[in-house]
């Protein structure tokens, strides 16, 4: 189990932003997996892909339910104050965090699974229950949004 809980936790953490809620979701994912273990078919997907599918659905439900409570600006200001030496990098990262947060949920999940978890596009298509082409297009659009955010930051500095 240990080899699976970290990727699931990291995925939830990167998707929803809150560490405690990510822990709760990780626990829910493993309980749901345990309850529905009989429905898992090894010939259809790997166990990790199956777990990520459950995690993705739980996270999407969570994001739809929660009210917009994350005050990224406050976090950003605290971080900036704490690391004044690294303010350029912090600013850059904050912009990226904000851009990632602002992505539509389907682009965000695809981006996190591809870029952070390093999953193959075919697995992501299974998790997202969509076609390979759609996954590629979602990731492309997500990267485009992040690129725009980075270019805006660089433009402001010049």
């Amino acid at each position: 189990m240990e080899q699976f809980h970290l990727p699931v936790f990291r995925f939830a953490r990167n998707l929803i932003g809150d560490e405690h809620d990510a822990e709760d979701i990780t626990q829910e994912v493993f309980l749901a997996a345990f309850n529905h273990l009989a429905t898992y078919k090894a010939e259809r997907a790997s166990f990790q892909t199956w777990l990520f599918t459950i995690a993705r659905n739980r996270c999407v439900n969570y994001i739809k339910r929660r009210r917009p409570l994350i005050d990224r600006d406050a976090i950003a200001n605290t971080q900036q104050a704490a690391n004044s030496d690294e303010s350029a990098q912090s600013e850059f990262w904050i912009r990226l965090e904000k851009a990632l947060d602002a992505l539509p949920i389907e682009q965000k999940t695809a981006f996190v699974l591809a870029e952070i978890e390093g999953l193959p596009y075919a697995d992501i298509a299974q998790i997202e229950q969509t076609t390979l082409g759609t996954v590629k297009s979602r990731i492309h659009r997500a990267k485009q949004h992040l690129r725009d955010a980075m270019e805006r930051t660089l433009g402001e500095k010049k």
Partner: protein, 87 residues
């Protein structure tokens, strides 16, 4: 569909690396294992209860009686409520 290179790629790569480096709290594994274990115990408890009902006649009769009582509750409520209305 070819992705253009990211501006400031080293910083972007560092950001991705920082996100990949997210570590789960040490107690998370224990917490998840404990939750799964509790579910196993609960399930065993239900299975044992079902077995007992299946094997013993008094237990079967008790289960039927409880089911009948629960099934009758709405009728009892309607009968009680009907008393408050004058027809």
């Amino acid at each position: 569909m070819i992705d253009e290179p990211m501006p400031e790629k080293p910083m972007y790569d560092e950001w991705i690396a920082s996100r990949r480096a997210a570590r789960a709290p040490c107690e998370l594994t224990d917490r998840v294992m404990a939750a799964v274990e509790m579910r196993v115990v609960q399930r065993k408890h239900y299975v044992r209860l079902a077995d007992r009902i299946n094997e013993s006649q008094p237990a079967r009769m008790t289960a039927c009686l409880v089911a009948l009582l629960v099934g009758f509750l709405p009728f009892l409520f309607v009968a009680y409520a009907a008393q408050s209305f004058a027809f």
